[in-house]
């Protein structure tokens, strides 16, 4: 990393006290984000990807939640800020958009009013000026006839248009960081392509750093500079986009890549399924959390592997296999049939 990180998460741990025991939702996550960089966080439901970013924004207000670790943003530890101070960071410094644009907008206010409210909360600006800015923003996110639509209510927008409104609201105070939590999961592929292009355009125009949380490897393939793969509350692999797609070093990543039904390849007879289920966060297995589902498990896996940069090339993984073994096992795990056919 050349530039000073804009955001740095150090050993973040989030746990929830529940009736059944302690749920370790995030279990020691460290991340950094450079200015203008796009980080993709990939994982399944329950892997801790949303909780990590919600914690960064300090959006989890739950008496049963416990936080440990540091979140450094512009030299300050966000975890130690008071409510008033964090409120100044949200929106103006770090903004967030969510999966479901209907529930994130208030149905009883006009969308223009909701955007203006955010601008006026952070800036000393007249109502008229805020209104004009709202119209500009709606135009910037590609909403046709923004001067009319600014007076519409959320229900008068389609899903994709609502997500655009959310993005307009998120970028209204020119944040340094935009966190997008599954921004396209509820949308059709055609609309997903529109929204991803919009995020890319805003990123390039304003130099905003983006954290894109998704379960879909395809979504980050095009947009992310770096990718972190999460499983059971930890990052199990992290590297550049090319590292993760072409030189994946964790068996879980292999499984993820293999289980996608891809359009760009000949159709395999069977998809490579990862057997079993993700572990319960109440009772994580003692060793490697992926161990019980891993086809390459061996003796060492009873010990929990650390996220290490074994090759010294900035590509980290948490797996006990050595690099040579990984080279040999990777292709057979991702595409068992290619090997079958060759022999």
């Amino acid at each position: 990393m050349t530039a000073e990180p804009l955001l740095e998460v150090r050993d973040l741990k989030v746990s929830f006290r529940t009736e059944d025991g302690i749920v370790r939702a995030v279990d020691g996550v460290s991340l950094s984000l450079a200015p203008g960089e796009t980080l993709g966080i990939v994982g399944e439901s329950g892997s801790g990807k949303s909780v990590t970013m919600m914690s960064v924004m300090r959006l989890i207000i739950d008496p049963n939640a416990r936080f440990e670790g540091e979140v450094r943003y512009k030299g300050r530890d966000l975890m130690k800020l008071g409510q008033d101070q964090i409120r100044a960071v949200r929106g103006a410094g770090i903004a967030m958009i969510f999966q479901d644009p209907m529930t994130s907008l208030n149905p009883v206010y006009r969308v223009g009013w909701q955007i203006e409210e955010q601008i006026r909360a952070h800036e000393q600006i007249s109502r008229q000026a805020a209104h004009a800015r709202a119209i500009e923003l709606l135009a910037a996110v590609g909403i046709p006839r923004p001067a009319e639509r600014v007076n519409d209510y959320p229900h008068q927008f389609s899903g994709g248009m609502r997500q655009r409104v959310m993005i307009a609201m998120a970028v209204s105070c020119s944040p340094d960081i935009l966190i997008a939590d599954e921004p396209t999961t509820a949308l059709d592929v055609t609309i997903q392509a529109q929204i991803l292009n919009l995020i890319k355009k805003l990123r390039d125009d304003f130099g905003t750093a983006v954290v894109l949380i998704t379960h879909d490897m395809g979504v980050v393939a095009d947009i992310a500079d770096r990718i972190a793969v999460m499983y059971a509350g930890r990052i199990i692999e992290q590297g550049s986009r090319r590292d993760v797609f072409y030189d994946a070093r964790h068996p879980y990543t292999w499984g993820l890549l293999g289980s996608i039904a891809r359009l760009d390849r000949p159709k395999p007879r069977r998809l490579t399924a990862i057997p079993g289920l993700p572990p319960s966060l109440l009772r994580l297995p003692p060793g490697c959390a992926f161990g019980p589902r891993c086809p390459h498990r061996f003796g060492l896996c009873d010990e929990r592997p650390d996220l290490l940069d074994k090759a010294g090339d900035g590509h980290l993984d948490a797996c006990h296999l050595d690099l040579r073994q990984k080279e040999d096992l990777r292709e057979t795990t991702i595409h068992p049939e290619l090997i079958e056919e060759a022999t």
């Binding site: 592929v189 879909d216 095009d222 993820l256 996608i260 039904a261 359009l263």
Partner: protein
């Protein structure tokens, strides 16, 4: 063990006479061509139309408009094949599936299943049909009764059809659990004790209980996590081979649809705009909408993803209450010309492999076809 598919229909005899479709006349002929299933025609949809009324007023609910959910759809399905249905939300794919399963009454048109028109049957007459035609739903959390044990959920269809004795039912339920990859010991658990993928397996077991011939799966894997999705798809694949099932498979994940389907129908605003053998459709889409859909799918490969030129469709799907004139896609189509807004294109066959498209300016034509 009784085999439902071999048993004669138990319902009272119904006239199976030809019904005249009330829908607009369009060429149906070639829709049957090129079915990849080797078997007999199992299901034939003819000019299926489903409009939902939009009403206004309190006492006298006047119909002020109609949602054209499914608008004159015809296709054939052969035993043993899988037909994929794709399209954006609101294109009518789920409504079409529900019309075929007779969960909705049809506005007009007919559905011929196993040689018999089921579109006008009464509830009682439908019961034996439903043994052979089952559905698997999208949301495994909403489609299982949370207050019933899994054994009872799966045994429900057996009870409804007065199948077997208590002992036989018990045995059949554990068979079914095993068939879908669950342990027969789970029979006394409640749905909430299972994960999403396991619940979907329970939904599949319930659908299989009466030995159906056709399963309509409406987004069966969309609610599941990626690593679990492949498991359920492989399970559906295996079951098809083992039990000689026919599937109608609805999904918005085009990769999944291509993986499971023999043939694929692309729907847009209530109409089939292209229907073709699966591989052919991916290699040579004729309809601009199909081309745009494929190109919008993210490719999990950074280099390929950068190289390709994406066709991003502008805007949203128009309202099905007032669909555009002529070709319904013309408002978003980059090839549209004057004729597209005036004249509705018919579904016609290109080549001889059962590849049909409804477009005035089809793409990727061979010289012979052009």
């Amino acid at each position: 063990m009784t085999d439902a598919s071999a048993a004669p229909p138990a319902g009272p005899a119904t006239p199976v006479g030809p019904t005249t479709p009330a829908g607009p006349a369009a060429a149906t002929g070639p829709a049957s061509a090129g079915a990849t299933g080797n078997g007999q025609v199992l299901l034939r949809a003819e000019h299926v139309i489903k409009y939902f009324p939009v009403r206004q007023g309190v006492l006298l609910q006047r119909e002020i408009a109609r949602v054209h959910a499914v608008d004159d759809v015809s296709f054939e399905l052969r035993a043993g094949e899988t037909l994929g249905l794709v399209g954006e939300s609101g294109c009518g794919k789920s409504t079409l599936a529900r019309c075929i399963a007779r969960l909705y009454p049809l506005t007009s048109g007919s559905v011929v299943f196993e040689g018999r028109d089921i579109s006008r049957l009464s509830r009682r007459q439908l019961r034996p049909v439903r043994r052979d035609l089952q559905m698997v739903f999208q949301d495994p959390y909403a489609s299982l009764n949370p207050r019933k044990r899994v054994g009872a959920v799966i045994a429900d269809p057996l009870h409804i059809h007065h199948w077997g004795t208590r002992e036989q039912i018990k045995k059949r339920v554990s068979e079914l659990l095993e068939l879908v990859g669950l342990s027969p010991e789970h029979v006394n658990r409640y749905p909430h004790e299972f994960s999403g993928g396991q619940r979907q397996r329970i939904g599949v077991a319930r659908a299989l209980a009466m030995h159906p011939r056709l399963i309509i799966a409406d987004e069966p894997v969309s609610a599941l996590d990626v690593s679990i999705r492949a498991q359920v798809i492989n399970l559906l694949d295996d079951l098809q081979d083992e039990l000689n099932l026919t599937y109608i498979f609805i999904a918005h994940d085009l990769g999944v649809v291509r993986h499971v389907s023999d043939r694929i129908a692309v729907m847009y605003l209530g109409k089939i705009v292209e229907i073709s053998p699966a591989e052919e459709l991916y290699q040579r889409p004729l309809h601009p909408y199909a081309e745009a859909l494929w190109s919008a799918v993210p490719i999990p490969d950074p280099d390929l993803s950068e190289q390709r030129t994406q066709i991003v469709l502008e805007g949203d799907v128009p309202s099905p209450v007032a669909p555009p004139s002529g070709c319904r896609f013309h408002t978003r189509c980059r090839y549209a010309t004057e004729i597209c807004s005036q004249q509705e294109p018919e579904l016609v066959e290109y080549g001889n492999q059962g590849h049909l498209a409804a477009c005035h300016h089809p793409l990727n034509l061979t010289r012979a076809e052009a």
